[in-house]
Symmetry: C2
Subunit: 429 residues, 2 copies
């Protein structure tokens, strides 16, 4: 039985996502679709525009069979950490056989060959990249130049193929394939050629607009645009959430939270946060003191060496106190549980299988997590190889992220910090 895995943010669920899901079914001829979805915060270092429960619901209504939450500590990492966490999560279900991701180039062969070089580092690749870095190039640029030079010597891939891998979905795709190789996973990768707008394009462009453009339309109240670019079922859920005052949630709502947390941190404390290096902690502290708004802050920190997304991510790492040790351990040991956000009948059957086969425990209700840890540790079959401290910290961070996300809701009566305990998985009949 083929079960296809998809990694997504659904922020919000739009026509491009629907197309991707339907293509994934077609390509793999699968029996079920499992989604690893970001929770309350996304990979660009921002809170999701509506909560994870509603986004999972939209995904189910639009064809997903089972939605799992990608733990916060992976969801807010750069492409590499995000992809590795997500691929590992899908693999640990024990049931996912294929993985389908979007790609601008649609060139899986190029992605695969490049991924092998990046993981295996065959000579002379290490020297080539070292040389480019020494010239002062940024890491992505140095990597691209080194790959070009490498494939010129082996002629396994021509320059055009190498150069075709440059847009955001392909960059992420490269990381998915790398993760499959690094973790020696047998899930089979496939690509769906992306239709419509570039992922990052902020311009609204009709039926296949980017999530960025759709979020902008939501914020400006351009509902004509939104309804053109998201499936009806997703639109209904977005409208419901906004009517209830549980959105739109934006990074701007976190302005004083982020600036205050940085103003209270010492350089030493910031040095201990994951991702701070090369004097960035000094720069962050100086800029948080100077800037009165997030915009000023980002402008102040900005430099050629760092993308805006990286700065936003680091701001979140600092706000949530994601220390180096926890994050490195998470990256090494992977997701410690499979948190179920919703499923349909097919998904339920899949869940029964997962409960027997998965490498880590399945969580449907957060409040019982201590019992789940105990049971997993007691398991005489020794199926699970979880680290109880890491399990607890990862889950506590998911819960904290959701508790902060809800604090950003416009409607004060909805700002409970207990949604993760109050909400049960969505079950679609």
């Amino acid at each position: 039985m083929n079960v296809v895995g998809i990694v997504a943010e659904y922020n919000p669920f739009h026509n491009g996502h629907l197309y991707h899901m339907e293509s994934a079914r077609k390509i793999t001829n699968c029996e079920a679709v499992v989604v690893a979805m970001s929770g309350s915060f996304c990979q660009r270092g921002e809170p999701a525009i509506i909560d994870k429960f509603s986004r999972a619901e939209a995904a189910l209504q639009c064809g997903a069979d089972l939605v799992l939450e990608l733990p916060f500590c992976f969801a807010v990492q750069d492409a590499g950490g995000f992809a590795k966490g997500a691929v590992s999560l899908l693999s640990r279900t024990g049931v996912v056989t294929d993985i389908v991701f979007g790609s601008e180039s649609g060139n899986l062969e190029a992605l695969s060959k490049m991924a092998h070089v990046l993981v295996e580092q065959p000579p002379p690749f290490p020297e080539l990249i070292h040389k480019e870095l020494k010239k002062g190039l940024s890491f992505p640029n140095a990597r691209k130049k080194a790959l070009l030079a490498f494939f010129q010597t082996t002629s396994e891939l021509n320059s055009q193929d190498v150069l075709s891998i440059e847009k955001s979905n392909d960059i992420l795709g490269l990381e998915y394939v790398k993760a499959l190789i690094e973790l020696s996973l047998s899930m089979k990768p496939h690509v769906v050629k992306r239709v419509g707008a570039n992922y990052l394009s902020p311009k609204f462009s009709g039926t296949f607009s980017s999530a960025t453009a759709i979020r902008e339309s939501i914020l400006c109240g351009r509902w004509d645009n939104v309804s053109q670019s998201v499936p009806k079922k997703s639109l209904n859920i977005i409208s419901r959430e906004l009517n209830e005052g549980r959105g739109p949630v934006t990074l701007r709502n976190m302005e004083s939270l982020i600036l205050s947390s940085l103003r209270l941190k010492s350089r030493r404390e910031l040095e201990n946060i994951y991702g701070f290096s090369e004097g960035l902690e000094k720069r962050f502290i100086k800029c948080a003191a100077k800037a009165g708004t997030l915009e000023e802050f980002f402008k102040c920190v900005n430099s050629k060496r760092f993308t805006l997304s990286k700065i936003k991510r680091l701001s979140l790492f600092s706000f949530f106190n994601l220390d180096r040790e926890f994050m490195e351990k998470s990256n090494k040991e992977g997701p410690q549980y499979l948190r179920v956000l919703g499923f349909n009948t097919k998904g339920q059957n899949l869940l029964s299988k997962m409960r027997k086969r998965s490498e880590v425990p399945v969580i449907s209700v957060c409040s019982s997590y201590r019992k789940i840890i105990e049971k997993a540790l007691d398991d005489t079959s020794r199926r699970y190889r979880i680290n109880p401290q890491l399990f607890e910290r990862q889950l506590r961070m998911d819960i904290a992220a959701t508790a902060i996300h809800s604090l950003l809701f416009p409607n004060k009566s909805q700002r409970s910090g207990e949604w993760d305990f109050l909400k049960h998985p969505t079950i679609l009949g």
Copy 2:
């Protein structure tokens, strides 16, 4: 030469404060008035309605000669910690000879005798209080009952005198006298009988309204009330600050800051914060998760055993990460510097004297604090007995408190976190 010390918050500076200052001059026939003033946050666990620089300016314009900042770590403590920090600060100037505080009873004899018993704990006082506490009384109530019983045995003070000490200024006054005894200081205490409204009275009552009532009037835009109850010069400063969008600052502005900081803390982290005991950390975490607003949070945490002010203070302790070790060390070793917020010509002369006599270094400009520490440690006369780590932490907390306070300004262009470096002491010609 008599120099009188006053402890104040001036939140904002009102007619009662003017009356107090003028009475203090008369009673002591002093040559100068030194004020130990709270900085960005006040003893009731709230941010000051306008910033410390403006409040110091108002005090100078209304007759103070020198205004020093009571470090944040003392300014936000309960009556005992606040009073001890302030009295110690005034004493460490080396020039203050007298201290004048407000009192509802005006009964210095009662205050003094009671303070001696509380500090020296002569038998059978310890047993008496133990007995009352065992009955389940709150500490203030048990203390009062034990004092009554104690003075019945010694007849040094009659019951009426003991019972007369019950209002907020007297309670604070008791702490000032206790601090003088505990620290063996020679400054002479005096009381000014309070006129007009009770300190805590939220009702506006004309010329002598409470600071609470005046803040309420400011928030409601009742400028007729405000102008009736504060000196013209103070009114002008308040108006200027509000016109510039640097106020009014209220605890409500900190709603998401406080709730988010609590939602991110583990029980173990909260246990390490000063003042959390008796399971309060569990209660705080539970309530911060449940409550969507500060009002709901306070309601949830509230119990007979804790006043609202205590809950607000603890919320600040948690937000600012005031750990047990730092606070206990501060209480033991006292203020490590004298931070000058402003002075007039007389104050300037006093400052020159202070620079020769004070027990701790004088700081006029924050940015030079590292040099000040070095110089103090190098001082061959060994006049200073400062703890450099504690000095730095206390000052960094003052700076952080001001950086958070300014983040709460309505006008975003004023939200710099560097006011402590940008502002020099106010000098009145």
